[in-house]
């Protein structure tokens, strides 16, 4: 083939080629690392919250008047909400997954002040909690209505029953998570609680939390002044019921205000806003970057075609076909691009190591490197196609002219 002569011609004018190769290399390093970050964020966002996301919404109620009776209001509200046509179930709780605000406690398997144990997110629910959130009870029993007690804002006591997630069971008993049911754990150092149920999965209110699925359900109604109602509707009726529920609560009691009504989908969107924005910005960056690089290839290739017009004419006059000229420039670009992507692979790995050390990002997936190499080679070929076709259309007669 013609690789020999093309390579030697390239070596006579190295600078332009090196610049393009470098540009491709840096482009590849940015591209692969950006895609790796995007993949990581995508994985974070794909984790299920464990609740019935399509059909749940939450709304807050804040009492303010002197005569506001929170306990009576909660009972009344729950009765009204559960009676509403289209509502599957409703509870009062302190929080909801991904909402960003909640309560966490330490659990331990032995009593005592200086015993270590996992941190868990606490959701206070009544016997309707599992049904309202749409959780999957794997073992044990749901709470009984008689288990539910009222918790005042300064109370430090804890119920004697809890339901935990599988992941909490694993954190508590790494050797025997399946035997967690019926065991006693301790909260606040030495207050015992018996595990009476295990649910499959549920997320804490904080998406970036280390043990994001370490969750416990505690059978309490809370009297914290501000409260959240969580409502689960029949499939497809959420949007129609949301304004109804808001109106119902606002009208039924004038001693409080209702606010922050949000569907679970909106809560998820807010929770991952920074991550989805990062994905958009990185996507945009990659597109711009590849565009700039291909424009650079177009610019330099056009320049080199212009400069070699006479040579091309001479080759054509000596019998080279149009295809041969086209092939010449395509192959030249392929050589440069190859140099670029090989350097790029090294740069990519280097940048990744740096990012892992500085920002504790994850390692890039191995297949991204060959994939990016291939993509950039194709981009290079497409970019050079225009100038190369222009070169192939140089008429042989050019060789005979002097200017």
């Amino acid at each position: 083939m013609e690789i020999g002569p093309i390579w030697r011609a390239l070596m006579r004018n190295k600078t332009g080629a090196i610049l393009i190769a470098l540009q491709i290399a840096v482009t590849m390093a940015i591209m692969v690392n950006a895609i790796s970050i995007m993949q990581e964020r995508g994985r974070l966002m794909a984790r299920p919250s464990g609740v019935d996301e399509q059909n749940i919404f939450s709304i807050s109620s804040v009492g303010f008047a002197e005569q506001f009776n929170e306990r009576a209001a909660i009972k009344e509200d729950l009765t009204a909400l559960r009676a509403l046509p289209g509502v599957v179930n409703a509870i009062q709780s302190n929080s909801i997954p991904l909402s960003g605000g909640g309560w966490s406690m330490g659990l331990q398997t032995e009593p005592g002040e200086d015993v270590d144990g996992p941190s868990v997110a606490v959701y206070f629910v009544d016997e309707h909690g599992i049904d309202t959130f749409g959780l999957n009870l794997l073992a044990g029993d749901n709470f009984n209505p008689t288990d539910i007690t009222w918790r005042d804002i300064g109370d430090t006591g804890w119920s004697d029953k809890i339901i935990i997630t599988q992941s909490t069971a694993e954190a508590l008993y790494p050797d025997d998570p399946d035997g967690a049911l019926g065991k006693t754990v301790y909260i606040s150092g030495d207050l015992p609680m018996t595990i009476t149920g295990i649910i499959e999965q549920m997320q804490a209110p904080w998406n970036g939390w280390e043990g994001v699925e370490n969750v416990i359900l505690v059978p309490n109604h809370t009297l914290f002044g501000a409260t959240h109602y969580i409502v689960r509707t029949e499939p497809g009726r959420r949007d129609e019921l949301m304004p109804q529920v808001e109106e119902l609560l606002a009208a039924s009691n004038q001693d409080r205000i209702v606010r922050s009504m949000r569907s679970m989908e909106e809560i998820r969107e807010r929770s991952y806003k920074a991550d989805s924005a990062m994905i958009s910005i990185l996507t945009f960056t990659i597109i711009l970057l590849v565009t700039v690089t291909s424009l650079g290839i177009v610019g330099l290739a056009s320049f080199s075609v212009n400069r070699r017009t006479r040579q091309i004419g001479t080759r054509r006059a000596l019998g080279a076909s149009k295809v041969a000229i086209l092939r010449y420039f395509m192959t030249e670009n392929l050589l440069i691009s190859l140099l670029g992507v090989v350097t790029g692979a090294a740069l990519t790995v280097g940048l990744n190591i740096l990012m892992i050390e500085t920002f504790s990002l994850t390692r890039i997936a191995w297949y991204l490197v060959p994939a990016a190499m291939l993509i950039l080679l194709v981009v290079g070929q497409v970019a050079v196609l225009g100038p190369a076709r222009k070169a192939s259309s140089v008429p042989p007669a050019v060789a005979t002219r002097t200017v």
């Binding site: 600078t15 332009g16 610049l19 393009i20 540009q23 840096v26 482009t27 390093a29 940015i30 690392n33 950006a34 970050i37 804040v62 303010f64 008047a65 002197e66 330490g106 002040e113 200086d114 270590d116 941190s119 005042d152 804002i153 300064g154 109370d155 430090t156 006591g157 606040s188 150092g189 914290f224 501000a226 205000i257 806003k273 920074a274 989805s276 924005a277 990062m278 958009s280 910005i281 990185l282 945009f284 960056t285 711009l288 970057l289 700039v292 690089t293 424009l295 650079g296 177009v298 610019g299 330099l300 056009s302 320049f303 080199s304 400069r307 990012m355 500085t358 920002f359 990002l361 002097t402």
Partner: protein
């Protein structure tokens, strides 16, 4: 001579519009991407109170757990217990000191037609206003005596004053919140410190509070606490008093110390206080009290998000790609007019004049790229605003420092990119290119 080179540069740019456009576009895109991210980083890490950031100190006293959990090491808690905050307020050892926390109340407008609405409040002390240099439109903050006597006084933000009193001077009038009347002592002017340095435990780029009331009043009436409460052990007993006397942290404490002496004295006082608490059986850890000035505290709390720094790194690399691009294109361009250059050399132009001429041409391309890049930066910032929404509301403004940085960066980039091509152009021998034709 300079204007002549400008003219030559302009002619050269016009002679090859495709290459010139590509170069300007490459620089503009690089500058646009870079400046968008730099602006966000710059605002995130900016000094919210430059006039006295080195005199305001966030106070941490280490009252925390003797057991090291989750391998976090022994760091002093980032907020303070009620016990310690009140002891430090009472000791009054700093020039000014303020304990505060975030809260929320329900405000009932005088007009019955309007529904009550919730407001973000800050429970704080009289010194808060002079300490953080808050400006008032009407009236002023409250007196120390209001703190001591549990007076129900309130300072309103500009927006709330507009919403409730139509923007009139409301000093002396009363506002009803959570069923209690509060007397207005002042209305603040716009107050949007970025970051919201005095409380970064919540959203450091979030809104400032709408209403300010005395801390002691909030405690007296057990107003709710927004923001984080962390406890390493449960309160001894039920109820609010047990909570107040517990080891739970939920208060931010700032001290104003005007010089190194005051700072050292205050540190000595904190250490003496901790020793005294140790004797009472509290503060089980080794002595570890901290005073961090505003910028140190922002650093400690990692106010600049990792994401922003990752983006900054990537965008600088992006600019590097654009520079490589420009170098290649400039090289093509300058060598393309080798004939011109050798003719000028033959007619007596020295290398240094040619050098100046081509650097000026590069700078012109940089200037063009910078101006276009500024436009792209503006678009980029609007994009960031659209993507992040209210999270970045205060982060996406372009000030003149950023405008000058953009233009400067563009010209500097173009000059750096122009160095090698110019050097190559200057090496062209006189008349060498003339023989061919």
């Amino acid at each position: 001579m300079f204007t002549y080179y400008l003219k030559l540069g302009w002619l050269s740019i016009r002679r090859n519009p495709l290459l010139s456009t590509l170069m300007v576009a490459a620089i503009a895109i690089g500058i646009g991407a870079c400046m968008t991210i730099i602006t966000v980083n710059y605002v995130m890490s900016s000094n919210p109170i430059p006039q006295k950031s080195d005199q305001l100190f966030y106070v941490q006293v280490d009252s925390w757990d003797p057991v090291e959990r989750d391998g976090e090491g022994f760091e002093a808690p980032d907020q303070m217990t009620y016990l310690d905050a009140m002891a430090l307020m009472k000791a009054d050892k700093a020039y000014r000191q303020v304990a505060s926390n975030r809260s929320g109340l329900v405000l009932e407008p005088e007009n019955d037609e309007e529904r009550p609405f919730s407001v973000d409040t800050r429970n704080t002390w009289a010194d808060f206003f002079p300490m953080f240099d808050l400006k008032f439109i009407y009236g002023s903050g409250w007196d120390d005596s209001a703190d001591r006597n549990l007076e129900r006084v309130v300072v309103l933000s500009k927006e709330i004053n507009e919403r409730v009193f139509g923007g009139e001077n409301s000093v002396g009038r009363s506002v009803r919140m959570n069923g209690m009347d509060f007397q207005v002592t002042g209305v603040l002017d716009e107050f949007i410190p970025v970051p919201k340095f005095y409380d970064v435990t919540n959203d450091p780029f979030g809104e400032t509070e709408e209403v300010y009331i005395p801390f002691n009043v909030a405690v007296e009436y057990e107003f709710p606490r927004y923001g984080n409460t962390s406890c390493w052990k449960s309160p001894d007993g039920d109820g609010f008093d047990a909570f107040l006397n517990s080891e739970c942290v939920w208060i931010q404490f700032w001290a104003e110390l005007r010089n190194e002496n005051e700072k050292q004295d205050y540190m000595a006082f904190l250490n003496a206080y901790a020793e005294q608490q140790k004797e009472l059986g509290r503060f089980p850890r080794p002595l570890n009290n901290q005073l961090s000035d505003v910028m140190e505290w922002m650093e400690n709390q990692e106010v600049v998000a990792d994401d922003a720094q990752v983006m900054l790194g990537l965008s600088l690399l992006f600019l590097a790609v654009c520079l490589l691009n420009t170098i290649g294109l400039l090289l093509a361009k300058f060598l393309g007019k080798a004939g011109d250059i050798s003719l000028r050399r033959a007619l007596g132009a020295t290398r240094s004049t040619l050098f100046a001429q081509h650097m000026i041409e590069s700078a012109m391309i940089g200037l063009g790229g910078g101006i276009l890049g500024l436009g792209l930066t503006w678009l980029g910032l609007r994009g960031v605003e659209m993507l992040f929404g209210e999270m970045v509301e205060n982060l996406v403004g372009l000030d003149w420092v950023m405008v000058m940085t953009a233009i400067g960066l563009a010209i500097a980039s173009a000059l750096i990119a122009g160095l090698y091509p110019t050097w190559r152009a200057c090496r062209i021998l006189p008349a060498s290119q003339l023989k061919v034709n």
